[in-house]
Symmetry: C2
DNA sequence: CCAAAATATCTCGACGTCGAGATAAACTGC
DNA sequence: GCAGTTTATCTCGACGTCGAGATATTTTGG
């Protein structure tokens, strides 16, 4: 019973920790997600909005809004898609790339720090339990 | 590493499950929290906004907004506080009380259903791990 | 080829949240 | 008593999200 509350509160605390890292670089979870997705896609660090929507699992309205802000901040660029005039291609600018490199470094360090709070055996048990429970909601991965 | 993502996704799925119950009664997590807090306070099912703010851990602006909606829906009433003219007293209306009774019933059943997905031994391990980890963020309870 | 269906993206209004700042009333210390 | 501080609540603007509904373009089936 109380476990559900604890799980949620813990997740909230962890998100808050993450948010602090983003904030130190003037980003939010939302903007980090987009930039990190572009970075993860590898050179030339560009994807169309549809792909970003699929990866980040937000609605198109939300993505438009995110891209508007990132573009205004000069972190991404929207270019016309050469092969589909309905669409566009979103690419990291140099400024955006440099920023996300730095943020990811901090982000990863932060994740290690968070996990370091947990003894290895507890962590393994937790890992297994989460995987099992999550499988009830996300049947298969690959 | 991936564990942090799983934890968050699991928490999101569970929240989503909760949200479905609320939605079936035309409530949101936000409005449920307020009504449930009032109900939990026992007769006469009333608290002032400050107390609600403390229990639900939201800002005063958020609480004003929540109360406005709940009042418009006739689920709560705002009465002047007889002993402090700065404040007011928020009370469940009969309609609000009847509603939250029903929702809580469903909510509890839903929680049991969610936990039933988990074998008892896994659950105990998870419980302990969560408690331990959470204690790093919430040092003491009582 | 073309009409109909599908797709890519944007627009817009509603909601929920925060946080800074207003307002009014109640306390506090002389 | 009263000036200064604290407290209770509300207001307001910014942000982020969703979802329904444009709009433009591409794809599909005959």
């Amino acid at each position: 019973m109380a476990m559900l509350g604890r799980l949620k509160r813990l997740a909230d605390h962890l998100s808050e920790q993450h948010a602090q890292v983003y904030k130190a670089h003037d980003l939010t979870q939302a903007s980090f997600d987009v930039l990190a997705t572009l970075r993860r896609s590898g050179p030339p660090y560009s994807l169309n909005p549809s792909a970003l929507i699929a990866w980040t699992m937000v609605t198109s309205g939300t993505m438009t809004n995110r891209l508007d802000r990132l573009e205004a901040d000069g972190l991404i660029e929207r270019r016309p898609d050469p092969v589909d005039r309905r669409g566009s291609v979103v690419a990291l600018t140099e400024k955006g790339f440099d920023l996300i490199e730095r943020v990811v470094t901090d982000h990863v360090a932060n994740q290690h720090r968070m996990l370091a709070d947990l003894p290895p055996d507890v962590r393994e048990g937790l890992e297994d339990a989460l995987r099992l429970w999550l499988s009830k909601f996300e049947p298969e991965q690959s």
